[in-house]
């Protein structure tokens, strides 16, 4: 038994261009308004999307900005109608699209709770019965008789949320509203959702917080540019989505990196002031830099803990016995995470001739999520550079956890038996 069912739903919006308005005739004739427009005057927000949500389950909708998530939610809420296809929803729907959307700033919180509740389909008596619960949940008891325009945005939002969840809907639609509350309130909301599920209600969650979707939802759908890309178990869908995000990031980093080397600027007046660039005598030249992933594929996105190899291709114009290879890793704040060279690691140079390969292999890239930049250099033992590439190469480290800092050591937790987690 499904609580929500979308079958072959498409939604076309009017694109507002030079001629802003529909004609009076088309407005009066109503429904055919969109069909008279040429394709370049319309925008397809959802294209033949179908999915169903089982009763009593939590379902996530993920995707990039503009992928049609919110449109899908509005269709389920009944706020807009599909251009073609059908949307079926079983039971009373409450939509948390914008919290406190119906509040009037001039009147008190108490009166707003009543009016908002009535708007969402409660009777006056229902609200009276739940009034205390709503106020306590929102934590605004002291201010309940003050006009809501004097509320902080957090109070405003909590009150909106408290009313909406107390409508006791069969289907709850949530659009990214948890992103605005503080930690404690977010936890309260999550508890509410779980409580909902236990009572056999359905939750549809639109979110950019993939961790939340993974934790809270049984199933998920991934929309991209109005089309359904994947559907099913939420962990699998989130994984597929993350992989795709990595790939597109990789493409843009690759393009940036290719650009950086090609446009390498002239040596800076003082190389120590240079923020990025390339300089040196050129007697030994770094002709190529590649970052390699586990299976020796060039890559720009690595998962925290994965191996990474930095492979340099160098060319010496004449044989030399005085050379040092070095690398440095910097995070986005410009903090050096790690730096070393062959001299520091007690390697005595003997001979370098012609084209050669140098590989710096990292067994486990134990960094937290973020963007990192790379220095690579070859220079004389006294420091005079042959070829210095400063911060020309960028890569990204992704991680499933939101931990902070720079270094992410391999770790685990251990507890005695009287500490328990759910």
């Amino acid at each position: 038994m499904s609580a929500i069912e979308l079958s072959h739903v498409s939604k076309t919006y009017r694109r507002y261009g030079a001629r802003r308005f529909a004609t009076l005739k088309s407005a009066l004739l109503g429904r055919s308004l969109l069909r008279e427009l040429r394709p370049d005057q319309t925008f397809l927000a959802l294209n033949d999307v179908s999915f169903r949500v089982a009763k009593g389950s939590a379902f996530g909708v993920i995707g990039r900005n503009g992928s049609g998530k919110s449109t899908a939610l509005k269709l389920v809420a009944g706020i807009t109608k599909p251009t073609s296809g059908s949307v079926r929803v079983d039971g009373r729907v409450s939509a948390l699209i914008e919290l406190g959307a119906g509040f009037h700033p001039e009147i008190s919180g108490r009166e707003n709770v009543f009016i908002n509740g009535i708007m969402l389909g409660l009777s006056k008596r229902d609200i009276e019965k739940r009034f205390d619960e709503i106020v306590d949940f929102a934590e605004v008891r002291e201010f309940i008789d003050a006009p809501v325009k004097t509320y902080s945005s957090g109070m405003y939002m909590r009150l909106g949320f408290a009313v909406a969840v107390n409508v006791n809907p069969d289907v709850l639609l949530v659009d990214e509203v948890l992103a605005v509350g503080d930690e404690a309130f977010t936890h309260k909301c999550l508890d509410r959702f779980r409580d909902f599920r236990r009572r056999g209600k359905t939750v549809l969650l639109v979110s950019h917080s993939l961790g939340l979707v993974e934790r809270l939802c049984d199933e998920a759908v991934w929309l991209d540019a109005g089309e359904k890309h994947a559907e099913g178990d939420s962990k699998r869908v989130v994984d597929a989505y993350l992989t795709a995000v990595d790939q597109s990031e990789e493409r843009s980093l690759a393009a940036a990196s290719a650009n950086a080397v090609r446009s390498s600027p002239a040596p800076a007046g003082n190389m120590f002031d240079a923020t990025e660039g390339r300089w040196g005598s050129g007697d030994v030249e770094i002709v190529q830099v590649a970052l390699l992933s586990r299976n020796n594929e060039p890559s720009f996105v690595f998962h925290s803990g994965d191996p990474m190899a930095i492979r340099l291709t160098v060319r010496a114009t004449q044989p030399t016995t005085d050379f040092v290879f070095g690398i440095g890793l910097f995070n986005a704040d410009g903090i050096c995470c790690f730096g070393t060279n062959t001299e520091l690691e007690q390697m005595q140079p003997d001979r370098l001739d012609g084209e050669a390969g140098v590989t710096f292999a990292i067994e486990s890239l134990d960094l937290v999520e973020g963007t990192y930049k790379l220095d690579v250099a070859v220079h004389k033992r006294d420091g005079a550079p042959y070829d210095y590439h400063r911060l020309l190469y960028t890569f990204r480290v992704t991680s499933r956890s939101q931990d902070v800092g720079i270094f992410r050591p391999r770790h685990h937790w251990a507890f005695s038996s009287n500490v328990r987690f759910r």
């Binding site: 009017r14 529909a22 009944g78 706020i79 109608k81 009147i107 708007m119």
Partner: protein, 264 residues
Amino acid sequence: MFSNLGSLLRYRGLIQSLVARELKARYRGSVLGFVWSFVNPLLLLSIYSFVFTTVMRNNDDPQTRPFAVFLFCGLLPWTWFSASLTEATSSLISGGNLIKKVLFPAEVLPIVSVLANMVHFLLGLLVLAAFMVAFRHFPDAASLPWFPVVVAVQLVFTLGLSFALSALTVHFRDVRDLLTNALTLWFFATPIIYPYFMPSVSRFLVLFRLNPFYHLAVSYQEILFFGQFGHVRSLLLLAALSVVVFLSGYWLFDRMRDSFAEAV
């Protein structure tokens, strides 16, 4: 359409509380508060009375004395009518948040505008009654039962127009500006500041009779001021027309409903 119309009854609790909110919110933060509902018509009336009895004395008709009471009988319903239309026209746009973010019956918004102004109208009647006592000019008790009928006709007529105008404004914002000017013209084309039996009115009577508000104004004035209600037939005709206006206004609204969430 008719099923939607029927569901309006279900929303009466919502309409009721929104009207109450509208009235409460309007004077929140002002010193006089609700007293403004009485002071507003009083001030309006003093301005008009001053202009027409002191500045422009020349067309002083003995039948319209006391002029303040005569003026009030036409001005009160007109204020209700024009304020309702002005507010209803922008109601969907100013309530855009509700239409876009909450599943909300859009027709409630223009209805609330009309009803909130009706409450002001009814409060204004108290001021009118006070004036009647002060000037010792009382309506004819025999025609008074017709008064609620006139109010009902005006209500239905105003609602119909409000539906149509509010729906059209969503797509054509020009309606708002057109309406402001049309209302000014309409006001002067209706016997409110002058009596309907003025010679220049009689000359163009056919044209005047085409104006729906002419019949409302004449009915109000006959019932409340002249004390002889002879306009019954026209009023009943207007009642029939109002039902037609109401239904077509609602039809248009219903027709365009789906586009509101996108175009607001």
